[in-house]
Amino acid sequence: MVRALMKIVVIDLQPERARMISAALGDAGFPDVVALAETDNLLDRLAQIDPDAVLIDLEAPSRDMLEQMFELSRRIKRPVAMFVDESDSASIAAAVEAGVGAYVVNGLHRERIKPVLDLAISRFNAFSRLNTELETTRAALAERKLVDRAKGILMKMKGIDEEEAYKILRRTAMNQNRKIGDIARSVVTAAEILN
């Protein structure tokens, strides 16, 4: 039997992640993927595309609108519902925890939707790990720049070398039980005001 292609819509506020998921779905044998950002006529677009499955970022406020559409669809020929397989509540929990929701046309077999959902979950998790790491790196870099600026200010004002300037910042942070970045910010702010 020839397996008909499953048409999948991905609704995601983050275009980067949407591309990542589309590509991964393509590799996994689901080439028919349309990524949609949120728009006012989302429901019209969906009606046009007529997908078999919809993956949605749970941070998207339009999720409640989709729920309405699916509620109304109960009365038409292709009712769509949230992916709910009672034998597999663990994967629903994993999806919600990862931040992705899946809606599928009634009658679609779980063997067909399960790989799609698993893939979406793993990509959502990977993306949030990536973002956390990126955020941590960004914060560390920003702090280092701030400390460098504060050191420069202290060196000029007090006529000391870099090592001495760093020691002052570190000692103050320890004495006040604050982060060295906070002390550096105070030095920079004070210098800006006093200049």
Binding site: P61, Q68, E97
Partner: protein, 389 residues
């Protein structure tokens, strides 16, 4: 060590009891630590409760029913042992729609109804509600039907998240809407819409949000449930005290909670509304009720009323089974169990006539000190739960 209770909520004035529970320390007094999470959609709140990411949730009363009746979302059994508030919604019309009607001498609610009857925009008027299974949706349908309008044919209902309602008016997606405060007042202040009717004019005692919990959590953690409800009862009293309005509105205004100006939030708390962009004022008695008489008691008759409305509009195929599920969803037994020693009084019954009272009326109760508040419907109908149960 205190026990943690994770609660999801939507930014609305009526999340106030949950915020007070945490911020004013009522939970701590009972040895509970509350972790509040702000959500972007009602579906998220429902799903995270169902899959155990939350222990409890700020839920629209009909959502609890829809979940148990397997109408939407993951399978889970939810119980509502506590009503967070009665009323607090506003029905608004866009400035555009009202302008069109003003030329013909109509204003206020009649202008909105007449615009719908006449297809004043040469197409069905579009009305926004925050969720399909919402108090708002059923109040709007009730109101329209009582004015002889068929809500399935003569208007189009669109779901719009509460905080995006003003934007939806601005971009012309909706011509009118019913939403929980402060989002109606925010649209008024932006000059986009006017409040034509407070929700309480449709039903004077509509249970708006409930505290929803999973049945298994309630069974396994009965003692925590009792502590949570006791703390919540005190939080509701604090929220309802007019002396606390200033502090409460400042707390809610924070971007962790409602993220709207404190002054706008205070309008809903006091019932002193600004109706139009030009500043017309109105004082609405019992606009949003957090704690009066039996306001927080989960009457089975309230659940049955919603069940009846869902069936009326074809959102549910009613059966003796669905009626039983609706009855089980609201849990007055748990309320009694937890609050017997704390509540000033408890009603003698679990169900009552809905819509029969014009004024506060004494009711049968444990200590004989209970008054029921006015609960009239806009069409004067009386709902008798015994006729369906």
């Amino acid at each position: 060590m205190s026990t943690q209770v994770r609660i999801g909520f939507i930014p609305l004035v009526d999340c106030a009891p949950l915020v007070a529970l945490h911020e004013i320390g009522f939970a701590r007094e009972e040895g509970l630590e509350i972790a509040l999470s702000r959500e972007t959609s009602w579906s998220n709140v429902r799903d995270k409760l169902a899959v155990r990411l939350y222990d409890a949730a700020h839920l629209l009363a009909p959502m609890a029913l829809a979940t148990n009746l397997c109408l939407a979302g993951p399978r889970a059994e939810v119980v509502a042992p506590y009503v967070l508030n009665l009323n607090g919604d506003v029905i608004c019309a866009s400035a555009r729609l009202l302008e069109r009607m003003a030329a013909d001498g109509f204003e206020g609610p009649e202008a909105m109804l007449e615009a719908i009857r006449r297809d004043a925009l040469d197409r069905p008027v579009v009305i926004g509600v925050p969720f399909f299974f919402s108090t708002h949706h059923y109040l709007v349908r009730y109101w329209l039907a009582s004015a002889g309008i068929d809500p399935d044919r003569q208007v189009r209902v669109e779901v719009i998240p509460p905080s995006l309602m003003a934007d939806a008016v601005r971009s012309g997606v909706v011509d009118g809407f019913c939403v929980g405060e402060p989002w109606g007042s925010v649209a008024v202040d932006a000059g986009l819409a006017s409040i034509v009717l407070p929700g309480r004019a449709v039903w004077a005692a509509a249970p708006e949000k409930v505290l929803g919990l999973r049945r298994d959590w309630v069974e396994e953690r009965r003692d925590d449930l009792h502590r949570l409800l006791r703390a919540l009862y005190r939080a509701s009293m604090w929220v309802a005290d007019p002396g606390n309005r200033t502090i409460l509105s400042e707390l809610l205004a924070s971007d962790r909670y409602v993220d709207a100006p404190a002054e706008v939030i205070e309008r809903a708390l006091s019932g002193s509304l600004t109706l139009t962009p030009r500043g017309a004022q109105a004082r609405v008695d019992r606009f949003m009720v957090f704690h009066a008489a039996s306001a927080t008691f989960p009457w089975r008759s309230q659940a049955l009323w919603f069940h009846g409305q869902m069936a009326r509009w074809g959102h549910l195929a009613a059966s003796p089974g669905s009626t039983a599920i609706a009855c089980r969803t609201f849990a007055p037994d748990l309320y009694r169990e937890a609050l017997a020693a704390v509540a000033t009084d408890l009603p003698g019954a679990n169900s009552k006539l809905e819509g029969a009272l014009e004024a506060p009326t004494p009711a049968a109760s444990l200590r004989g000190r209970l008054f029921l508040g006015p609960d009239r419907f806009c069409d004067g109908a009386v709902f008798d739960p015994d006729e369906v149960a």
